[in-house]
């Protein structure tokens, strides 16, 4: 039933897809169990810009990202990365998962985690050369973590762990960066460092899409917003789309009073 509905929904007249959109999603439905987490979502990411995916808890933000990356299996829908199926474009996509999704007690050092970002270059048995190491150190330098290269990852603070994850994504040298809550639970210095790196990626012409939870910083950090609550609510430039009406539609009654106050200030 759900599948049918989603499928018919996805067949409606196509929205115009801009040439070479880094990420285009059509009619995407993902379900855990019976309730769809993401329902018939269309998304068109603009190249060379920073896009925030926004919505209440459980609105399917992470799931949308995971489905775009092929980690979550969709019931229906299409994902195109730079106009082609993901499998042929993996080298052009970098991913920063939620920090809490891995066990930081894993026996490995900071530098080893960054080197993981070079996997597609190294392959199964390729030798790790000095140039690879230098590249990894360069990425650590970009997030201000060179001093920690030889630390065990469990010894890092939350913010430092997040920077290491970002450095690993930088090592992937991708054109499209997908980040899942990169600012969740990090200190102010880390937040500043991360946004600095993301803006420099944009300046290099790369595209950044981040699941974001802090409505107060959307205007400062991002060019575009994508509002979702299982289904898509709105999509577009911050100036025209990040409005009180759209937020109300996305969050419904779930927007906490504190957030509403905060927003009133921001949007005033």
């Amino acid at each position: 039933m759900t599948v049918e509905l989603a499928a018919s929904h996805g067949r409606r007249p196509e929205v115009v897809v801009p040439e070479n959109s880094p990420l285009t999603i059509r009619g995407l439905t993902v379900s855990y169990g019976h309730k769809p987490a993401v329902f018939s979502v269309d998304m068109t990411v603009m190249p060379g810009a920073m896009t925030a995916i926004i919505g209440p808890n459980g609105a399917g933000k992470s799931t949308l990202l995971k489905a775009a990356l092929g980690i979550a299996k969709p019931l229906s829908g299409q994902v195109r990365v730079f106009g082609k199926p993901l499998d042929r474009q993996r080298a052009r996509v970098a991913y920063v998962p939620q920090r809490a999704s891995v066990d930081w007690d894993f026996p490995t050092r900071v530098i080893d985690v960054v080197v993981m970002g070079l996997y597609r270059q190294l392959g199964l048995l390729g030798r790790l050369r000095a140039s690879h190491r230098a590249r990894a150190m360069e990425c650590l330098d970009r997030v201000g973590m060179t001093d920690f290269a030889d630390r065990q990852i469990g010894q890092l603070s939350g913010g430092q762990q997040q920077r290491v994850f970002l450095a690993r994504a930088l090592a992937q040298d991708a054109d499209l960066y997908l980040l899942d809550e990169p600012f969740a639970g990090v200190d102010a210095a880390t937040e500043k460092a991360i946004i600095g790196v993301l803006k420099s990626l944009r300046a290099e012409g790369r595209t950044v899409v981040a699941v974001h939870h802090d409505l107060a910083t959307v205007r400062d950090y991002f060019d575009n917003v994508f509002l979702i609550n299982a289904a898509k609510v709105a999509e577009g430039p911050v100036d025209t789309t990040f409005t009180a009406e759209n937020l109300q539609a996305a969050y419904g009654g779930r927007l906490a009073t504190a957030q509403v106050d905060q927003l009133a200030q921001v949007l005033a």
Partner: protein
């Protein structure tokens, strides 16, 4: 100890013990980090119905059909565990518990229903194997290692266990990077195009092969202990996976040697008469090493446990 006594009586059991211990400890490193360590326990239990079925099918007690039966049962169990975990949405530990207890129970039932009471299929053999009996009677001393005729008389378990160890080691070396990556961060590994589901299954099958081969030679006690104790102890010695693997090999080897020697001579030193089970003693030594590592290892403190959400 002189060669003419050591080579025929102790060399082969010692080597088989070492190979079995290391072959189980190697995949155990990844299983422990993936919180799948129980799978070793599961595999060594489901081996019983496999062996019984193989016996019923062939009517003889012979190594190869039983190895095949055991391997088949292990694979059936692995597939069942995955199926129950995915379809039933049950946590992996519980899925394993359900599968291995019911398959083991099925094996016991089969054993009782069929006429196997007159053959040598018993619980003690399944638990402890008979490492001490794997002797090399054709050997007369160290020179026999170069004597082709004597080498032909080697217990079949030795080349079989050596080949198993080699296969497991090659698998881990070949897939080192994706194994490490997908054990640490499965989602990220998938975005790189690594087939994490398939790789996880291959790891479990490698563990199953090691378990079945070791079970045949040394019984299930060693299998269960070696999957967990050396890797867990090694984790507390270092913060690098590469070094952890090396430590686990050292600990597995040390357990096998110390356990074998203690089982043979320990009771005599304490005034006892008979030797005790080598397999039991090897497992015990590995437990003692784990306890020592937990007490004194340099990397015992854990700080990065995953937070909720």
């Amino acid at each position: 100890m002189i060669g003419s006594e050591f080579v025929p009586l102790s060399l082969t059991p010692l080597l088989i013990g070492i190979f079995a211990a290391v072959a189980c400890a190697l995949p155990g490193n990844f299983l422990v980090l993936r919180r799948q360590a129980l799978i070793g326990d599961a595999i060594s239990h489901v081996v019983l119905p496999g062996i019984v079925v193989a016996f019923l099918a062939t009517g003889v007690i012979s190594s190869w059909p039983m190895m095949l039966g055991a391997a088949g049962a292990a694979i059936v169990a692995v597939v069942l565990i995955e199926a129950i975990r995915r379809l039933g949405r049950i946590e992996p530990g519980a899925a394993m518990g359900v599968v291995f207890t019911s398959m083991f129970a099925g094996g016991v039932l089969l054993l009782e229903l069929s006429d196997t009471s007159n053959v040598h299929l018993d619980v003690e053999h399944a638990l402890f194997g008979n490492l001490e009996s794997l002797i090399w009677l054709d050997a007369t001393g160290w020179a026999s290692l170069l004597d082709r005729e004597a080498l032909l008389g080697l217990p079949v378990e030795l080349p079989r266990m050596a080949a198993t160890l080699l296969a497991v080691a090659v698998f881990i070396l070949l897939f080192w990077r994706p194994l490490k990556l997908s054990t640490f961060d499965e989602g990220f590994a998938r975005t790189l195009g690594i087939r994490t589901g398939l790789l996880g299954l291959a790891l479990v099958i490698a563990a199953a092969v090691a378990a079945v081969a070791a079970f045949d030679a040394v019984g299930s006690i060693i299998v269960i202990a070696m999957f967990i104790c050396p890797p867990a102890a090694a984790r507390m010695m270092t913060n690098r996976l590469e070094h952890q693997i090396a430590w686990s090999v050292v600990f597995a080897t040390a357990s096998a040697i110390a356990g074998y020697v203690l089982a043979g001579y320990g009771p005599l030193w304490f005034g006892g008469q008979d030797a005790v089970s080598a397999a039991g003693m090897i497992a015990t030594v590995s437990g003692v090493i784990l306890a020592l590592a937990a007490g004194f290892g340099p990397c015992r403190t854990r700080s990065g446990a995953p937070q909720g959400g």
